[in-house]
């Protein structure tokens, strides 16, 4: 951090926007307004959510209850790209457009259900049932939220295979593919730091 190069600008130069790419002429004002409206809706939803504790925020769209080991979740939260970045969508090649549609369709397909095994570390109660099912597209944070609600704990520390805590945005499906043991993703949990 010692190499920090700095300069400052005052109010006058705020409007200099060197980085903005030329705006496509095909991007009509109406398109832009619509995108803005969508973005506002999205932000509003987030702001209105209940008070979140650590990491829980990332799985905020998931309302969780476990009946017979099936972790019920809401939609996977989706995050839109910045406007100047998504501007490229207006001038893709026909093949590019078709590809984007295919990717979107793929996301809508029903994700597969995976098995998760919860193992308590130390004095924390064991959650029941021990093996639960969750859809592969959910972020890891949903599991943390699930344990917190189920065990009525304020904080839960979760580890994969007694080793590491993954980034909360990571999909459960990716983790399962990488680290499953006998087709189960093993989550060890604790109410304090177990592996620093």
């Amino acid at each position: 951090m010692s190499q920090l190069l700095e300069s400052e600008s005052d109010a006058g130069s705020m409007s200099t926007n060197i980085d903005s790419p030329p705006t496509g002429s095909r991007n009509t004002m109406q398109d832009e307004l619509e995108q803005y409206a969508k973005k506002l809706d999205f932000l509003d939803l987030d702001g209105g959510s209940e008070h979140q504790s650590e990491l829980e925020a990332l799985g905020s769209s998931a309302s969780i209850e476990a009946s017979n080991g099936d972790i019920k979740t809401g939609n996977v939260p989706s995050h839109k790209a910045p406007m100047t970045t998504s501007a490229i969508l207006t001038h893709l090649t026909p093949a590019g457009n078709a590809a984007i549609e295919k990717v979107k369709e793929k996301e809508l397909k029903k994700p597969t259900k995976l098995h998760i095994k919860f193992l308590a570390i130390g004095s924390v109660p064991q959650v029941s049932p021990q093996v639960a099912q969750i859809s592969s597209s959910q972020p890891f944070s949903v599991l943390i939220t699930f344990l917190k609600r189920k065990l009525r704990l304020r904080t839960v520390y979760c580890y994969v295979n007694n080793s590491f805590s993954p980034a909360p945005q990571q999909s459960v499906g990716d983790l399962w593919e990488h680290f499953k043991v006998n087709n189960e993703l093993i989550i060890n949990y604790c109410n304090g730091v177990a592996f620093g």
Partner: protein, 297 residues
């Protein structure tokens, strides 16, 4: 090869951080003596670092003009690009590459000798964080721990367990982080090479794919180092994960580009070679997928 690793480590980005005007004092209340209101701060940061590590500095610069006293230089603050909140737990360079979706070839023709490439961000503050931002309750210590867990995960992928890192002494662990904060590449490499195994015994590769379109997403595919005795190519992985965009049989027919460390990387290269040269300071090779538009082709 070490030359490329040096370039990767010293890569930097210019940022201009504007402050959310809501957070500022009304102009009549600006302390006497300060002539103009400071509404943005420009800094150059390493691509291989976390944005939030610079929060105390950035918030400190704005502090005299803020409406409320600063209680915590980390908690409650976050960055946005055009209203889109930025998840801080990825390297700054990977965030820039994926969020701007810039094609490096076009970028270099757009920015010539006497212009600077600047990433414009907004600093915001509030009690409710956007859902994609991890709350920072324990400041820099939390950043260090999160980073260490990323390394443990990468270590697990490469070696089949995290034991190598878990057996580090406390002083090794702290020295490793210290190398990031003080930008000491030599010290960093010394510890890194204890985690990254010999190429021949590397099980899988820690690879992360960042997408911005159709929405912001992270994909971490399983990428075995070798497939039937042959090194896995990036095009193998991309063709399997995103057959819509990457054509395995003909690279020129691909509709997207793979970008790592700000450069357009050849998809026909083995992932192992790319990992060894371009992997980030968190143990992962971050690849951003950038769509190609009509004008560019």
């Amino acid at each position: 090869m070490s030359e490329i690793r040096d370039l990767t480590w010293f890569g930097s980005l210019n940022l201009t951080i504007s402050i959310d005007p809501e957070l500022l004092l009304a102009s009549s209340n600006v302390p006497q003596g300060s002539s103009a209101k400071l509404t943005s701060v420009s800094i150059r940061v390493p691509r291989e670092s976390y944005l939030v590590l610079y929060l105390p500095y950035i918030v400190g610069r704005f502090e005299p003009q803020l409406r409320n006293n600063v209680v915590d230089y980390y908690n409650g603050w976050w960055f946005e690009m055009e209203g889109v909140p930025i998840s801080w737990n990825y390297p700054i360079g990977a965030l820039f590459d994926s969020l701007t979706g810039l094609n490096p070839a076009i970028r270099s023709t757009q920015f010539c000798d006497n212009s600077l490439n600047v990433w414009n961000l907004t600093l915001r503050h509030g009690t409710h964080l956007p859902s994609s931002v991890i709350p920072l309750r324990a400041g820099s210590e939390q950043i260090r721990e999160m980073w260490m867990h990323q390394w443990k995960q990468a270590c697990f992928v490469m070696n089949g367990s995290s034991k190598l890192i878990m057996s580090f002494s406390k002083s090794d662990t702290l020295a490793f982080w210290d190398a990031i904060v003080r930008r000491d590449l030599g010290k960093f490499n010394l510890i890194r090479q204890r985690i990254v195994p010999e190429a021949s015994s590397m099980k899988s590769l820690p690879l992360r794919l960042h997408l911005s379109l159709p929405d912001i997403r992270l994909v971490e595919p399983v990428c075995n180092t070798y497939d039937n005795g042959k090194e896995t190519l990036l095009s193998d992985v991309l063709g399997q994960e995103f057959p819509e965009w990457f054509n395995i049989s003909s690279v020129s027919a691909s509709l997207a580009k793979a970008v790592a460390q700000g450069i357009d990387i050849p998809v026909e290269a083995p992932v192992l070679a790319l990992y060894l040269q371009l992997a980030s300071f968190d143990g992962f090779l971050h690849v951003s997928l950038c769509l190609e538009g009509q004008r560019e082709s």
